[in-house]
């Protein structure tokens, strides 16, 4: 069976410093994976490398998305192929309306799939429905992208984008950070609603609490640029109770 994402002995870095020191992962359609790890372990680097951030350099290894190599592929092409990255710190873009941005993004994805662009009325209808799912105020449609949004609103906006783009692979980088319990439940509800047998979700998180609401099939612990241990949901609980030190010293 073709993997949704296959990472083979990936080494990557930033500004000449190697951060990922040989990572291998295999994610199948229909699965939810979680990557946990302490600060500075390389979690965000991994998500940015897969998404194609230009500042990061792949030093060795391979990243295959549905058997297609991502190395050398521009970030926008990766997105159109079906990869979505939810940002830990979503960027504010004043002057670009959230609605217009989402419509352009949606159309670029539809074009890639060989589908016709949605007309503005159909798009607005879809957008409103998705916003209701995430309990977002419809006034956010016309505001600048993430402009003046609270931390929770920004994270909800990330999940809204995921809902609009319907990616095959969603990498959510610390989507739970900065969220209060109520906001976390809403975001988790949104993520669960988007789980399908034909897509894959990779959650990157510091803490176990997101995993109380989004049940992962697999949990990986990343530290010092390497996957130290992989397991099922129980690994997250073990990390929660014992911390990371026992894995680092093992």
């Amino acid at each position: 069976m073709t993997a949704m994402l296959e990472i083979k002995d990936l080494k990557a870095g930033l500004n000449g410093v190697e951060i990922l020191k040989g990572i291998s992962l295999r994610l199948q359609a229909g699965e939810v994976h979680a990557i946990m790890g302490p600060n500075g372990s390389g979690k965000s680097t991994l998500s940015k490398v897969v998404a194609g951030h230009p500042d990061y350099t792949v030093l060795a290894g391979e990243i295959l998305f549905q058997s297609k190599s991502l190395l050398g592929m521009e970030p926008d092409q990766r997105a159109r192929e079906g990869i979505f990255m939810g940002f830990q710190y979503p960027v504010e873009i004043p002057g670009v309306s959230n609605s217009e941005f989402l419509r352009m993004a949606n159309n670029s994805r539809r074009k890639e799939k060989g589908l016709e662009e949605l007309d503005p009325f159909d798009f607005q209808e879809m957008l409103t429905a998705k916003m209701e799912l995430l309990e977002m105020d419809v006034r956010f449609k016309e505001r600048g992208v993430n402009e003046g949004f609270s931390g929770g609103e920004k994270k909800r906006n990330e999940i809204l984008q995921m809902a609009i783009l319907e990616p095959s692979l969603a990498i959510l980088d610390e989507t739970d950070s900065g969220l209060d319990v109520d906001a976390l439940k809403i975001v988790a509800h949104g993520i669960n609603a988007l789980r399908r047998p034909d897509n894959t979700i990779l959650l990157i998180t510091h803490y176990q609490r997101l995993l109380d609401y989004v049940q992962p099939d697999f949990v990986h612990v990343l530290a010092a640029g390497r996957i130290l241990k992989s397991g099922d949901k129980s690994l997250a609980l073990e990390v929660e109770s014992r911390g990371y030190d026992w894995l680092l010293s093992a």
């Binding site: 998404a51 194609g52 951030h53 230009p54 500042d55 521009e74 970030p75 926008d76 990766r78 997105a79 159109r80 979505f84 990255m85 940002f87 979503p90 960027v91 873009i93 004043p94 002057g95 670009v96 941005f101 352009m104 993004a105 670029s108 994805r109 890639e112 600048g144 992208v145 984008q161 783009l165």
Partner: protein, 411 residues
Amino acid sequence: MTTLTEPRHPSQFMRHAKAPEVSEGLLSAFEAIPEQRIPSLLRAAAWKAFSELGLPHSGDEDYSFVSAGELHGLLSRTPQTDSTSGFEVEERVDLEQFSLASGLLPEELLVPWKTAVLEEHDAPAALAVALASNPQALSLKAGTRIEKPLLLTCRAEGARSDAALFFQLEAGSAAKVSLRSEISGSDAFLNASVLFHIGADAELDLTQMDPPEGLQTLKLRFILERGARLHLTCASTGSRLQRLALEVDLRGPHAQADLRSAVVVGGANRCHRHVTLRHHVPDCASKQLFKAVVLGSGRSSVDGTVVVDRDAQHTDARQLLQHLMLSKEGRADAKPRLLIHADDVKCSHGAAVGKMDPEQLFYLRSRGLDAKSAHELLTHAFLMEALDTSLPAEISGPMRARLLGALEGAV
């Protein structure tokens, strides 16, 4: 209606008050303007102001980013005294128009205009009033409103044209005004000055667009009385030389000024903004948002000063000057300044000259927008933030089209 009838030809005065560097040709041209009672009073005041200022020269702080030598040359050109250049004003009910060539101007218009001219700090503006072939004055009566934008067009052709206009908005009136310059020929030079006196609780919504060619020095001065409101939106794509000088005086409590400017300069075009905004009295608010995109070898500058006088407590003044550099050959200068003499105020200012934010770019690309679309979207967004979204479509449409046209193919 009362009019001033004091006969006076200012030539004697002018000879005595001649600024040392003023050419004989300029002075002769000035003296050749036919004697008329009212225009001569105004011209004499303007010449007096100019004589004290002199022509722009290198080392003058007000012209830090402009070639003072070039301005000196332009302002020394022999003025045309024909009547083909100057302001054209749409006729409107409730709007009184006075052409000074007719020799008549009500005292209630002449006095504030002359007073403002005597305190003029901008040498080109003083010259514009002194040499304008047909100065005009407009008066909007108290409590009346102009909803459909009033078009003011300043036309110029030939080596040099000077134009001057005074627009008085009486108490409680409101007007939407669109000011444009049309200059025929890339070497044609227009030097113009417009004074707006915005009465108590009156409101002016002004849009101004620089011409796409020619050379221009334009001064817009605004005097705001109690509770008056000014919304100014300027747009420019530059040319061989565009210099816009803005002077705003908040003279009545609770007056508000909102100044916005959107500029795209490419090729070898230049666009310069010079702003002096003064809070004279308490409880006034001002906002300034100046944005410019620099392409090719374009050059943009914004030199903006906010002065808060000692008595102007509870002032709220904000100023933001931003340049987006999309080329290595272009140049941008920003000089924000706050001079605060009161102690209970809220003031902020900032200036940035930078490239496109790579994180914003990556964010858009990570959602599937190709590099070109992402660049365009970010550039448009940067610029359009400076355009007031409440502008009527017939005004905002051409502004947007001009700005986006200048960006086309360059982003």
